[in-house]
Symmetry: C2
Amino acid sequence: MNSMTELPELTERQKTLLLLIIRDYIESAQPIGSKRLAEHYNINFSSATIRNEMAALAEMGYLRQPHTSAGRVPTEDGYRFFVSQMMHQAELPETVQRTISHQFHQSPPDIEQWMTLAASVLAHQSQGVSVVTAPHARKAKYKHVELISTQGRQVLMVLVLLGGEVSQQFLTLAEPVSQERLSQTVTRLNGLLAGLALDKIASLPARSDALDQDIMTLIIQDMRRSADSVSGEVFTDGLTNVLSEPEFKETEEARRALKMFGEPSTLKALLDRTTAGGKGRVGGLQVLIGGEGVWEELRECSMIIARYGVPGMSTGTLGVFGPMRMSYARTIPTVRYVAGLLSDLVNDTIAGE
Amino acid sequence: MNSMTELPELTERQKTLLLLIIRDYIESAQPIGSKRLAEHYNINFSSATIRNEMAALAEMGYLRQPHTSAGRVPTEDGYRFFVSQMMHQAELPETVQRTISHQFHQSPPDIEQWMTLAASVLAHQSQGVSVVTAPHARKAKYKHVELISTQGRQVLMVLVLLGGEVSQQFLTLAEPVSQERLSQTVTRLNGLLAGLALDKIASLPARSDALDQDIMTLIIQDMRRSADSVSGEVFTDGLTNVLSEPEFKETEEARRALKMFGEPSTLKALLDRTTAGGKGRVGGLQVLIGGEGVWEELRECSMIIARYGVPGMSTGTLGVFGPMRMSYARTIPTVRYVAGLLSDLVNDTIAGE
DNA sequence: GGATAGCACTCTCTCAGCGAGAGTGCTAAT
DNA sequence: ATTAGCACTCTCGCTGAGAGAGTGCTATCC
């Protein structure tokens, strides 16, 4: 079943044929027959030969027929082979690169803006659904906190971590506190905590001042949240794109597949599990085909996922979701390019340290 | 065509019948015939009589037949009549009220949390797609600004307006600036601008200090953005709900209708235009049925929309979107209740001033 | 005179049957 | 090893008949 052991069995001609079939199927969305193949591409052998080869490819598990007398359709293994070929070549055309790069450098230097833009670009280029999660540091270090009184007892706490990560939280105090007192607390805590990692802060002795202590507890809580493997917001775009794909003509199919984007928790679990197990990992990208037998809802879908950011410092996840019959040739380079771009941007941001 | 002029023509029996038909159709999603009606509900007259009445109702434009020999289906005017009846009664069951209220009071006192929750509750209760936009003050007044250096030349500006509205923005300075210098700028600006409205601030003389001036420009820009009728984020939930409705069995229909949720700009335009013209306005709620002849994509859809917040101070929009055959009886009270709840919360937040 | 029963009519929906078309697998010839 | 030919299979689209549902009209009843 593993493509690694089967690859050697393929002759050059079989490879060519297989790639041709998959490419054609991705475009046409219809089972590919031997005759059609022989006619459309100038191949120097006949349809009968193709039939023989197709039978062989089917035997090996790369192709399958929806019914006895239809054309052939790629199996998951077929797609995997296709993708493994794809990986080596596949650079994004330079004009497209420039267009995308331009968009990013024109946007304000805000991580959220970049993520929104990345989601938009990915969805648009791939005609699939895109997902982008915020980058976060593996081991967050405290840099700075700010308390801003907004309304009566309500206070906005802005926590800045080394690396530029910013999180914020509203809190309601037991009683109104003047902005001066808040400022004093801020000054004390900033002096005390600067540069410390979560575990250090957590092991500090309790503060005598009640307000200080409360805020510190919240800081710890915030840092913990930020340390979760996939924390913060998830940006998504292009949800309706997949609705035009023929495999989702039945809304029930589409519903099942899209439901998970409605629940951030499921989505995070998926991304988590994906970035952990590296089955389809090539060149920094992961390609999940047909749910890899694990996600029942994604049996007919694929995901292309990449991590971005600065390894060990601050990384996030980004990817594209679509039908198994998605345009890998266009999507893979796009995902790779956008991941690289975002990494550079994050890197530049951090470089200041 | 206007229901106001036609209402008087309806006899009591016709009203009863019309309501019955619409209610049944909303449940069954199938054209309602006279026989079915006579059998299922214990009515003290025969199907022939019902037929006569139905013919009359069809004549008046409340019902229509998909084809000569099918049952009757409500027209837009039919739904409008139904909704106008609905408006008077229709309180949410108290248990449901308590459940919802409980959820809100358990959540952290953060407007974004509330909006997310509202979107979730609305989508869940109505089985439709929910939309919630942030409340914003019509005439924003400056309260406080904070500058937080995050990374090298990058600074996070947090702007707090009277009323508790908070907006933030990343900016990149031409050259690194120490946190002290930032603090000085902050102190100066806070002293200068406190309590001023946008127009006042805009008419102030330019600052001699370059940094001060830059920040002030950004503040004005931010306040202007916040003054847009629908600014900031749009929270949405339940996108996949409508996919299970039979009217969206064809994905193309669903795609057309859902596409607008992908583009915040279109959505904002819709909400804007809706809250302006008050055609279907009853008791603070607006019910848009069948796109009201304006939105071609929404020909088969309805929206129930309400403003929330404190009138004249800070208001936002919230609503539910679904097929025309949506459960108004459940959705209208829910929208109304959630709008009230959110208004109270916003009110409490502002009360501190 | 309003309500009702009866009836003819219309229209959709479903299903079986049939032919066309596409594609295969096998065999025999090159 | 490759290819041409052929029988076979399966889907798809079309057609026509029958069932079912519902209507509108008319004659009748209270």
